[in-house]
């Protein structure tokens, strides 16, 4: 089950503190400060309790400071989300190879693919347009030819006309 990493962090620190406190037990403390303990057992207890409370408070405050500094809560929550999204993935994921030019390539591929498809589309559109233009050009050439032929015919007619008086 996914325990949120922030909760895990707090739990681990609490466990650490508990174990540290149980290691530094009151008995141990009184034993080390034996002379003072004999003189002032109640005071020793008071001082020990104060010691433990202060230690726990300081350490917990420190953890909160570190969380704030590194924006750890938000970062760990976002990591939880990333982990959750990849739940169905079992095989090891890609990792940087250590060769930047190899690694950056995959980042660029989507853009090259995008350019490839847009260029393909542009080329096809332009080809279609050029086919139409080519047809128009051929048609135009035909018309020019016809006009030239008509003029040629007229010219010949005139030439013949000018021949007629001579022939007559």
């Amino acid at each position: 089950a996914h325990i949120p990493k922030v909760k895990l962090l707090d739990t681990v620190v609490d466990t650490f503190l508990q174990k540290l406190v149980s290691a530094g037990s009151y008995e141990r403390f009184a034993k080390c400060y034996k002379r003072f303990y004999k003189l002032q057992p109640e005071m020793t207890r008071l001082i020990y309790d104060q010691f433990i409370t202060q230690l726990q408070t300081s350490i917990r405050e420190e953890v909160s400071t570190i969380k704030e500094e590194g924006n750890l809560e938000a970062v760990l929550n976002s990591l939880d989300k990333i982990v959750e999204e990849a739940e169905d993935r079992k095989e090891p994921a890609w990792r940087p190879s250590g060769i930047p030019e190899d690694d950056v390539r995959s980042t660029l591929i989507p853009y090259f693919l995008q350019q490839q498809s847009s260029l393909k589309r542009l080329v096809q559109e332009q080809e279609r347009e050029n086919v139409k233009l080519a047809e128009m050009v051929l048609e135009g050439r035909k018309q020019v030819l016809e006009l030239q032929q008509q003029i040629q015919a007229r010219k010949q007619a005139w030439q013949m006309l000018t021949q007629v008086p001579k022939t007559l």
Partner: protein, 200 residues
Amino acid sequence: MSINPLLYETQFFGFTPQTCMLRIYIAFQDYLFEVMVAVEKVILKKASSLPGSTLSAVQIRGSTETFLRFMRERFNRLFVKMEQVLLQLVLNIPPNILLPEDRSHEKYPQGREDFHLLQQEVEQLRLRYKAELGAKHALLAELEVQKVTQARLKKTLHWFDGLGDAHGPLGLGEMMAFLIQHSGRLRSITQDVTQKSKKL
């Protein structure tokens, strides 16, 4: 021992997990020392205020050091365990996880060759597109020229037609037909006359 730099974790967190743990270790340890100093001060103060107390500062310092030595030993042992757990479960990117900025590696695992082929294809497409654009401009230019040419030819034709109309109602075409038709007859009469005169 090879150090695992935890590079991928660092890429995500922006700091190395080891630094984070070191930061926690130093902070915790400092607090332990600080609190111990405070404890020793209080005990010293209390002891010196006790009437007839023979407890010296050196003795109290000795007690402090004994307790602190013990606490530090336990602290270090516990911290190693905590560090392992935090590095494994909290400050860790599981092996099956790909960070968002690396998502493209999941979709495009292409190798060097594929990439170059793709680049070449894009370049070829670019050249083809340029060629098509060139062809388009050439075709449009020719259409432009054709327009001018056709206008000029039509003008010439119109001029010819105008000529026909200028000489009477007959159009050039009819006149031509008339002349051609009669000049043929005229020519055959002429030949006829020539032959007969030879005979005579």
